[in-house]
């Protein structure tokens, strides 16, 4: 059997990689995918604790998180398309209209 700490450590590492991706990338689509990766790391913690406690409530929360991720992806990609139409780039350093 595998200790629960192994799963939690995997989730923490994936979350860290996602945070790293958000911070280092200039491509807004890669940033967006890094956020999805962080959501998945949170899901893995929920599922690991759900297994440790022997109840399936965590799976329901994972389902809700997946729905929120789908909604977020739809709205976020629509915003990316709109911004790309105005700025002709996906470089986030050029998205500086709100900067003063």
């Amino acid at each position: 059997m595998v200790p629960i700490h192994a799963f939690l450590l995997l989730a923490v590492i994936l979350f860290g990689i996602g945070a790293f991706g958000v911070l280092i990338s200039r491509n807004i689509i890669v940033m967006f995918m890094s956020v999805e990766l962080m959501l998945n790391a949170a899901n893995m913690v929920l599922i690991a604790f759900s297994r440790a406690l022997g109840i399936v409530d965590g799976h329901v929360f994972v389902f809700l998180v997946l729905s929120v991720a789908a909604a977020e992806a739809a709205v976020g990609l629509a915003m990316i398309i709109t911004i790309y139409r105005n700025r002709e780039t996906i470089n986030i350093d050029r998205y500086n209209l709100l900067k003063w």
Binding site: V12, S25, V30, N40, L53, A70
Partner: protein, 195 residues
């Protein structure tokens, strides 16, 4: 080393590898494909944790639908590997960009290491019944205890779909109407003249 542990180590390594390659790629299409690799490995870990239904949902919804949506947007914007996106103009210093995630990982691991749950000892995972995490159990929870959150999720998805359409719509409906109508009127006299 048991077979369980071997499977876990392999899938964890693939998940971390895919995630790392995802943020290192210049080409966004390659990024999406590496994220799919990572997600499939994560689905293996889910199944190993007894979450069979959630593993299937992860592959179908995430790898099958959301990431294909990403690919569609990348194709729609006609993006290619762009050297501008990987060099120059750092808004954050390299130290900050590296230190923040490393500190985050260390901090989160200490939090997890110290967490104490009364009925979940931090050692090996115990045995659960065979159908743990199958569709039956999850669905019963989902449609009894968590019925209202599920209904609200449906409303959220509806709002997201309508919002996405409204945001991504081109604002050309009105100008075209005003431009086309005078043209029609201008054409008609010329037709009668020609006739």
């Amino acid at each position: 080393m048991t077979i369980d542990y071997t499977i876990f180590l392999i899938s964890a390594a693939v998940a971390v590898f895919g995630a790392t390659m995802m943020i290192m790629q210049r080409n966004p299409v390659a990024s999406v494909l590496y994220l799919i690799v990572s997600l499939v490995a994560q689905a293996v870990v889910y199944v190993q944790l007894g979450a069979i239904f959630m593993g299937a949902i992860l592959i179908v919804v995430y790898a099958g639908a959301i990431l294909v949506l990403f690919l569609f947007v990348i194709m729609l914007l006609n993006l290619r590997a762009n050297p501008e996106l990987s060099a120059g103009m750092p808004t954050l210093s390299w130290f900050t960009r590296t230190a923040v995630p490393v500190l985050l990982i260390v901090e989160l691991y200490f939090v997890i290491d110290r967490v104490m749950l009364p009925s979940a000892p931090t050692g090996m995972l115990g045995e659960v019944e065979d159908n743990f995490g199958a569709v039956h159990d999850v669905a019963i929870k989902m449609f009894t205890d968590y019925l209202y959150p599920m209904q609200l999720t449906g409303v959220l998805l509806l709002v997201a779909v309508v919002g996405a359409v409204v945001i991504a719509r081109r604002e050309t409906a009105e100008p075209r109407k005003t431009a086309v109508n005078p043209g029609d009127k201008a054409e008609k006299p010329s037709n009668t003249v020609a006739g």
